[in-house]
Amino acid sequence: MPDLKSVNELVLRFANVNGSGSASANSLVGKSFFRMGLPVGPKNIFPSNIQGLPTWYEIRVSEKGYTGRRGSVDVMVAMNSQTFQQDVADLVPGGYLLYDSTKPLNPHGRRDDINYIGIPLTQIAVSKYEQARHRQLFKNVIYAGALSALLDIEFDVLCDLLGEQFRGRDKIIESNIDALQTGYDYAKRYYDCPLPVRVERRELVGDRILVDGNSAVGLGAVYAGATVAGWYPITPSTSVIDAYTKYASKLRTDETSGRKLFGIAQAEDELAAIGMVIGANWNGARAFTATSGPGISLMSEFLGLAYYAEIPVVLVDVQRCGPSTGMPTRTQQSDLMACAYASHGDSRHVLLLPATPDECFEFSMLSFDLAERLQTPVILVSDLDLGMNDSVSKPMTVAPDYVWDRGKVADYEMLENGFEFYRYLDIDEDGIPYRTYPGTHPTKGAFFTRGSGHNKYGGYTEKGPEYKENMERLLGKFSTAATLVPEPVIEDKGRPDAVLYFGTTLEPMVEAIDELNQQGYSLDQIRLRGFPFSEEVWAFINRHDRVLVVEQNRDAQMRSMLMIEGDIDPARLISVTQYDGMPVTAEFLVTAITGHLSDDPAVSQRLSA
């Protein structure tokens, strides 16, 4: 039996059937680690159906702070007979398998290099509970209790969490704690507790929070002053709107009248959703929508209109695994080009690329400021992994002196005082014209918005030079955008090679970089956070011999965009892609990066020196 020992460095995975009510027990365990002051990275791996199919919940605990996926399992709670064989196989040698021993295990396929921890969960539940529903549900709580003993999770932490969750409903709290205790006691009694793989309280999370990206985006929209949302349900973006609805209802209901300071319309489809957003923004409200892959395709005609007619739009794309319906409950970063160049004709859009929940919150707010400043669609490009999984994150904050930026709007006073308003005239040489809200002034400032050819005065045109002048200004505006999107996060120590990445590659990259350093590969880093790319991005790339572009799609879309936008010699952009639908792991990154680097004679030399 291989010897597996670790404190505060482990991967715990639960294998369940969906619809069985396991998610709450599993996330209770997940959160308990966090409460013990430990960085934690839970991942929910669920099927695209409602009940009866395999689902997994994987928790990475790491006092080193490596909260990305690691790629193997130390402790497996195997509750799904359909996937049992595979679940057993996924354990590292020396790992621990917690299973329901009510029925004897099939001796076929038994591994000698792992530890079996049988607990007769069904039997216990049947003997303790009468209702089928209770038996089913408490089974989950019982194994959570057993884990408390096995992994040394502080029992009080679990009780506290339950207490907070069901505050005021003492009977529920009691019965849950009782189930926890049952599991705890059983494990204590029959197994050496804690296991050599276990946790211990630390003070490593400080004021951090454990939150999913979609909640942060939805809350960001509330704090940005968004008042209108039009949307259509689609996994994994639905919870952005759910969060907006929840927080807006709580924080934005007029206390005296009980009426709402926001309006949310569930549209009949994505075309209508973005149409509403365009109408509302045109009319002076901050409005947004959220969708995923298929929605982006459907919205592309309207995105072109908003680009060309210069209407602010905030669109959240929580990417999932494409193409087409693809694997809707798996993650990917594969809508980049579809977003950046959405719509026919020459059109291009501003993208924000958050990597953490606090960035989700910050960029969500920023997207409204930028959309109104630039009068164009801003697409917040998140993904399922960031959006639907909890991550440890800095708290969400708003600068105390924050005021929203509504961009260039000619109001009644300006018009009254002689401001000469022409809708598409570039008076500030930043490519951004003034707009007016409908209804502003009885005689001045009205203009006609159209997706057809127009000149700088806002008039209809079919004249080539007028059309072209306007299109060129739009290019200028895009250059302005490059100065306004969030700057990349850079670590540059003058090394010859670098990695470039964005979004949810961050977590595993932190770990991979450390590992690479240990192996003697030392790399500069740049994490992109916005598109169009800023001067800093180009300067960084130009300072380096080779840049490994890491992304979670097949076609190296980000690398393509770098080439297109920056005329970068492709020889200097090495592509590293992972796109099987699972969040990328540090292990994969290390292997892929060393594979590329060790091909290079210069690097081999450096390494051997």
């Binding site: 409460r35 004021d207 929070i209 454990l210 809350l219 704090y223 002053g225 008042t227 209108v228 039009g230 927080y247 924080l251 934005r252 007029d254 009248s257 009980g258 009426r259 709402k260 300071l261 926001f262 309006g263 319309a265 549209a267 009949e268 489809d269 075309l271 209508a272 959703a273 973005i274 149409g275 509403m276 365009i278 109408g279 509302a280 923004n281 045109w282 009319n283 002076g284 409200a285 409005a287 005609e301 309207f302 209109l305 708290p395 969400m396 708003v398 809200y437 409908p438 209804g439 502003t440 009885p442 005689t443 009205a446 203009f447 006609f448 918005t449 997706g451 057809s452 209809y460 079919e462």
Partner: protein, 350 residues
């Protein structure tokens, strides 16, 4: 290329209560074909807004794509207008309306724009009970793309000569009635006497108002087999190929009494059997309206007038439960929940 009209000051010109002249409700010069029914609708809209004393800049005009959808440039030049994309006006006006409940919304669309590509959006905006005038300038063809049948084609089929359109037409009025619209009327572009009051009623109605306005396309009324159709003329009469010849046409006008019918000769020579509702027609009974329309359909008559109205309306904002003020007017102070609230949300995630 819409040419601005010379604005000549007429000192003695009539003004409405707000002090606006009729001219203040006009727009750029139309670039539609001479005689196009759509221009008559624009004129009726101008008159209705003038007579209702609406401040022009408090109206928002939103349309899709098509000859009909171009018309918002031709009326209410002092209003903001939005010529969006084909078939999607309803969603744009929905968003606009949520943002600012205080403007008056005029949605202009064509029959292709509404009954073909836009039929889903049309149906759903009716369900949402948006406070607006939804004007369909219904000519039974795709004007701007040169004359394909639309899904409302054959509203005049009973009397048209040749091969009937093989598809059943979509009757937008029946649809709207089924979908719960609270103001449903059919007009005819040439009947200003009837149309202007219908528009005024619609603009005054505090909920969703549909006017399905029959509006002859003078250029592409080329139903196969019609003896006066464009195709026919091209083949038989006009002495040179006229791929792009649009004969000069007069606007069709009618004037007849409530409770009576009239046959209108269209530009292609086909006849339209209009039937104006009786003065004692009861527009408050939805079921009766549905049956009335079914009867007319059987008789090949096209009922015009105020077919159904329910003054007891729910507006979309009632459903949304929004505050009194337009959302677009709220200051950041009112919208910002503040740092304390944020801190307690952060705490909930620890």
């Amino acid at each position: 290329m819409s040419y601005a009209k010379p604005k000549v000051a007429h000192p003695a010109i009539a003004k409405n209560e707000l002090g606006y002249t009729r001219r203040d409700y006009e727009g750029s010069i139309s670039t539609l074909c001479a005689g196009c029914g759509h221009d008559s609708i624009s004129a009726a809209l101008i008159q209705a807004c003038y007579e209702l004393d609406l401040p022009p800049h408090q109206v928002a005009k939103i349309s899709g794509i098509g000859c009909s959808s171009k018309t918002p440039t031709y009326f209410l030049g002092a209003s903001h207008g939005f010529n969006s994309v084909h078939g999607r006006m309803p969603s744009v006006v929905t968003g606009a309306n949520i943002a600012n409940k205080d403007l008056v919304y005029v949605g202009v669309s064509g029959d292709g724009d509404t009954a073909s590509i836009g039929f889903g959006q049309f149906s759903h905006i009716v369900r949402r009970r948006l406070n607006m005038l939804y004007m369909v300038e219904n000519n039974g063809v795709y004007g701007l793309t040169k004359g394909q049948f639309s899904a409302t084609a054959d509203f005049g089929s009973a009397s048209k000569g040749g091969v009937p359109n093989p598809y059943d037409q979509i009757d937008l009025i029946q649809m709207a009635l089924q979908l719960g619209a609270t103001y449903v009327a059919r007009g005819f572009s040439g009947d200003k006497k009837q149309l202007v009051p219908l528009i005024k009623g619609a603009l005054s109605h505090p909920g969703f108002a549909l006017i399905d306005c029959i509006s002859p396309c003078v250029t592409f009324n080329n139903h196969e087999g019609s003896t006066r159709s464009y195709e026919y003329v091209r083949e038989h009469d006009v002495p040179v190929v006229t791929a792009d010849y649009v004969p000069y046409a007069k606007t069709i006008k009618v004037d007849y009494e409530p409770g009576t019918g009239t046959s209108v000769k269209m530009h292609d020579g086909s006849m339209l059997n209009l039937h104006k509702l009786e003065e004692d027609y009861d527009p408050y009974d939805r079921k009766k309206a549905i049956n009335y329309l079914l009867d007319c359909q059987e008789q090949g008559k096209i009922a015009t007038g105020m077919l159904y109205v329910n003054p007891d309306v729910t507006d979309f904002h009632d459903i949304l439960e929004t505050v009194e003020e337009p959302l677009s007017s709220l200051s950041y102070d009112r919208l910002n929940p503040g740092a304390d609230a944020l801190e307690s949300i952060n705490a909930s995630f620890r």
